[in-house]
């Protein structure tokens, strides 16, 4: 799991990589020349990995301002004949959709791969969108790796497919592949060195219905190619009457589930590495012998619907087949069919119910012991901002200012660490939360309702990276229409949630080159919106700043700026923070456990035995904000500098 493995020039050797590193390696083996991305889980580490190797491999890598721009810059490279890679999470594909739908018509030149990270179960996303439905609408081929090894192989293969079709190809990779680690058998690194060419007379145009016909032809060719692709494979008896059609890591789950049920010899598993367009001929050959087909895929019944449509079209060839999947509710996890992830256990239970094969969840005695031991003692870990997070101080200030204001002001938000403002850790402040930058747009809308008598003050919070990504059009709209609201930029000077990637407000680029910083103050000033800057760690001053600005009209911006607590202490000695038990009044009037119960930084804990507050020094990042809020000044900060 190192950068050394990704760039290791020893074909035939196995190295341990993460799924994301494996994708990066696949791109290097395909001779990628240009890579762009906006960070998003689960695929955030792909571009970071390539950026570290940019110089060595003579490739260009950038963290673009958002996914649409990322796709445009990558397309530009492809138009000149370079191989290009653009990486985003499923939500990012939504952002890039307008351009993607046009690009799918115009086509590309150099191989262009769009890596889309889907997040079944929404581990680190606000929704578990299945991007395959969008890709189908876009007329783009979709390849799905089932393992860490395949993440590399599929990516490499995608480049050559794209180049031969002159059409971008999507590699849809789910969290369980992106974040898994495994042995990867390395292939040849491709020499870089293509030279970009875009000459007078070259045209890449999205215009005319004729191109639609060409698009359909490309897809038909892709389907033919898929029929022979090694990315699809079959495992099981010949002429299987019972067939599982699986894609992505569900292929692994299917193999494991069948083994647990003792059905490996009787049931065939057809793995689809190409899920759009479907390898129709291949599928038909298996459907002809199958009487029962089970679908194993995440999240939506995408393969299921399309295979059933295929079977319907060929009903006279395939005969009677009973299909089991999400549509009829037979393949379902605890949250219901088509909701959440699958796993071997879920699949084994579903197959057991379908075929009447008895299944009991294997007991894991060793683990059981641990669960028994800890089960009652382990507290639930709730979603929380990190210890010392400046957003906590900001949220506390906003909450306090709103209470002082007393007009029932409302708070909107969107995507970033500050999304946790919907939870206890953010004092349940956020009342709307949708997508990048949406809070500013919604605020702009609410800010015009005064003519109907809507008089509540409106605050929207937006992160610094999100500010550049998606807030600007809404801010311009607000200024133009004199919408009345307060935009609080929670500026932690990085794209924190996805691993501290730089953005246009920073001094360096993805590859560490010096950047021409675009300070947000200059943008806001340029739009003509009044603004102020305040350090959220100075809570009293921040409350005052929020309160003061709340009293104003029109659009206005308050930048609460303080570096992410994790980034701030990286590689440095932390301040030591501790509670003076003599001064702490704990449960009594005048405190009532403010630090641990209300402000609730994870480092502020309660020592039930002594009835005093305590600092969890392992967790504390030494910001000292709690010390300024403690009514008894019982919290002591020993500064290291």
């Amino acid at each position: 799991m190192t950068i050394m493995g990704v760039c290791c020039d020893k074909p035939g050797v196995k190295v341990a990589l993460t799924g994301n590193e494996s994708i990066a390696r696949g791109a290097l083996e395909a001779g990628v020349g240009y890579a762009s991305s906006y960070p998003g889980s689960p695929t955030a580490e792909v571009l970071g990995t390539l950026a570290k190797l940019a110089r060595q491999f003579n490739l260009y890598a950038e963290w673009s301002i958002n996914e649409k721009v990322a796709m445009e810059v990558a397309a530009a490279a492809s138009f000149t004949g370079l191989r290009s890679l653009v990486i985003m999470k499923a939500d990012g594909l939504n952002v890039a959709l307008d351009f993607a739908s046009a690009l799918a018509i115009s086509g590309c030149r150099g191989g262009m791969v769009i890596v889309v990270g889907d997040d079944p179960g929404a581990h680190s996303s606000v929704r578990e969108e299945d991007s395959r439905n969008l890709c189908k609408a876009l007329h783009l081929p979709v390849l799905e790796p089932a393992s860490v090894q395949e993440a590399k192989d599929v990516t490499r293969e995608a480049f050559s497919l794209s180049e031969s079709l002159q059409l971008p190809v999507v590699v849809r990779c789910v969290t369980r592949v992106c974040h898994a680690s495994g042995d990867v058998l390395l292939g040849e690194l491709a020499p870089a060195g293509r030279r970009p060419a875009f000459n007078q007379g070259d045209r890449v145009i999205t215009f005319s219905i004729k191109l639609h016909a060409l698009q359909e032809q490309k897809l038909a060719r892709a389907s033919d190619w898929a029929g022979n692709s090694r990315l699809n494979s079959y495992h099981g008896p010949g002429d299987a009457g019972r067939l599982v059609i699986a894609s992505g890591p569900c292929y692994m789950y299917a193999l494991e589930a069948l083994e647990m049920l003792g059905l490996s010899e009787q049931v065939g598993v057809l793995k689809l590495g190409v899920t759009w367009p479907l390898p129709e001929k291949l599928l038909l050959s298996y459907l002809k012998t199958a009487a029962e087909v089970v679908f194993a895929e995440e999240v939506e019944p995408f393969v299921e619907d399309n295979v059933m449509a295929l079977a319907a079209r060929h009903w006279d060839e395939v005969g009677k087949i009973k299909f089991y999947g999400k549509r009829n509710g037979q393949v379902a996890g605890p949250n219901g069919p088509g909701i959440g992830e699958l796993d071997p256990d879920v699949l084994a239970q579903s197959l057991s119910a379908i075929w009447g094969t008895p299944y009991t969840k294997p007991a894991l005695p060793a683990h059981q012991e641990i669960f028994d031991l800890l089960g009652t003692k382990m507290p639930d870990r709730e979603l929380a901002l990190c210890a010392g997070c400046p957003h906590r101080a900001s949220f506390w200030s906003i909450r306090t200012a709103l209470e002082l204001d007393g007009r029932g002001g409302i708070v909107l938000g969107d995507i970033g660490c500050y999304t946790l403002g919907i939870a206890r850790t953010g004092y349940y402040l956020l009342q709307t939360m949708h997508c990048m930058g949406a809070g500013v747009g919604i605020a702009s809308g609410l800010g015009k309702l005064d003519c109907f008598g809507f008089d509540k003050p409106v605050i929207t919070v937006v992160g610094d990276s999100t500010f550049y990504h998606a807030a600007l059009p809404a801010l311009v709209n607000a200024r133009y229409h004199r919408a009345s609201f307060m935009c609080v930029v929670l500026d932690n000077e990085t794209t924190a949630m996805t691993g501290h990637q730089p953005h246009p407000g920073r001094e360096t680029t993805a590859t560490g080159e010096p950047a021409d910083t675009v300070p947000m103050e200059e943008i806001i000033r340029g739009i003509g919106i009044p603004y102020a800057v305040q350090d959220p760690y100075d809570v009293e001053a921040a409350i005052e700043a929020v309160y003061r600005m709340l009293q104003q009209q029109g659009p206005r911006v308050l930048i609460l700026r303080r570096a992410c607590a994790l980034a701030a202490v990286k590689g440095k000695q932390k301040n030591r923070v501790y509670v003076d038990p003599e001064k702490c009044i704990g449960d009594s009037c005048g405190c009532s456990r403010f630090c641990s119960k209300v402000f609730a930084c994870p480092a502020n804990i309660w020592d039930a035995e002594s009835g005093k507050a305590r600092i969890d020094e392992a967790v504390c990042n030494g910001c000292g904000v709690c010390a300024t809020l403690c009514p008894q000044q019982a919290i002591v900060v020993e500064r290291t500098v």
Partner: protein
């Protein structure tokens, strides 16, 4: 004794808070912006110091007389006192001071004499008043001049006590004087006032009502240039601005009078050590009521050190002052909203009430 939740429900949400500031900053849960006092987070405790020291909860006039002075009052109009005078500052009359500058001079003297370690005052100007913790005579003099909106100045007292300040002094409105006395004498759930000891000096101001901050809006709409000074004599409010003098009727201000002030019985800071107000007839002088021994001694000292010039209170003015004070009390007692013992409504025990009515009847209207 109830707590924060009751303070919120009974006082703050009922608009009965007079913005004295005593509960502000006792804990991290009660805060203020301008004169607005808010519970920003429920502390969850059933009993709270905040409720106990609130001047709008649980006041028995007679019990407070006994606690502060050790005796009952004879005069239901003006409360316990040892003497009433007119006075004015002789030297260093603070610039901007109201009338004779007595409050500023006495606050400065108390600081100079070490009677108090620091003095809580209201600084700033009419449009922008704010609390000040004066540690020197000059800092105290800089706060001269009346402010007519309720300013939660006692917030700064709490902060100072928490930081270890001993025997502080307070210059405040009657509600603030009462809050300070409740902190001194009530059994309190919290320990905030245990180390503070008693107050070095409680200097009360005369106050018939304070204005809501909406008054600022009124003022800025009417007066466009810089306001130098404000006064509300019997004839009605007067604003001295750079461009000239503005006058209105008291009735113009009535919409801005705080609800809690309409239910207040105390217009002369009855539980202060010494109370200072206007004379209502000579703008160069103040009325001074020496109430406690401490107040009496401070006045003697001021006279001895030639800080104040002190004169007899004119006999013909005395009934007028008493009438004004009694009228306010009787008006409150007859209000429909006045329900003794309810939040915002002090309890006047029957014997006091009887005397009150007799004394009021004895005053020619």
């Amino acid at each position: 004794m109830p707590g924060q939740k009751d303070l919120k429900n009974d006082v703050l949400d009922q608009d009965l808070c007079s913005a004295c500031g005593m509960c502000v900053g006792l804990c991290p849960y009660i805060k203020t912006a301008r004169d607005r006092v808010r519970v920003i987070y429920p502390c969850g405790l059933a009993e709270g110091t905040c409720y106990s020291i609130c001047p709008k909860t649980g006041v028995d006039v007679r019990a407070m007389d006994l606690a502060v002075f050790g005796r009952e009052r004879e005069d239901q109009a003006l409360g316990v006192m040892q003497g009433i005078y007119i006075a004015r500052a002789v030297q260093d009359r603070a610039s901007g001071a109201q009338y004779g500058g007595v409050a500023s001079a006495l606050a400065a003297l108390a600081l100079e004499q070490g009677m108090v370690s620091a003095m809580v005052l209201t600084g700033g100007d009419v449009l922008n008043p704010y609390p000040v913790l004066a540690r020197s005579a000059d800092e105290a003099r800089a706060c001269a001049g009346s402010k007519y909106t309720g300013v939660p100045t006692l917030e700064i007292l709490n902060r100072a006590i928490r930081e270890g300040l001993d025997h502080p002094g307070v210059v405040g409105r009657p509600c603030q004087v009462l809050a300070a006395r409740k902190a001194e004498h009530s059994p309190l759930p919290g320990t905030q006032f245990n180390q503070a000891g008693s107050f070095g000096l409680v200097l009360g101001l005369f106050c018939f009502w304070a204005l809501d901050p909406k008054f600022y809006q009124f003022l800025t709409n009417k007066v466009k240039d810089k306001i130098i000074k404000m006064d509300i004599p019997v004839e009605g409010p007067v604003i001295e601005a750079e461009s000239g003098t503005y006058r209105w009727q008291v009735e113009d201000l009535r919409p801005y009078i705080k609800k809690s002030c309409n239910l207040c019985l105390d217009s002369t800071s009855e539980w202060a050590d010494i109370a200072v107000g206007s004379t209502e007839y000579d703008p160069a002088w103040n009325t001074v009521l020496a109430r406690s021994d401490k107040g009496r001694e401070l006045l003697d000292l001021a006279l001895r050190l030639n800080v104040l010039e002190v004169g007899e209170y004119p006999a013909e003015r005395f009934p007028l002052l008493r009438r004004a004070a009694l009228n306010k009390k009787m008006r409150v007692l007859k209000m429909q909203e006045y329900q003794p013992g309810r939040p915002g409504c002090p309890v006047v025990p029957p014997e006091y009430q009887k005397q009150l009515e007799e004394q009021w009847g004895g005053i020619g209207q």
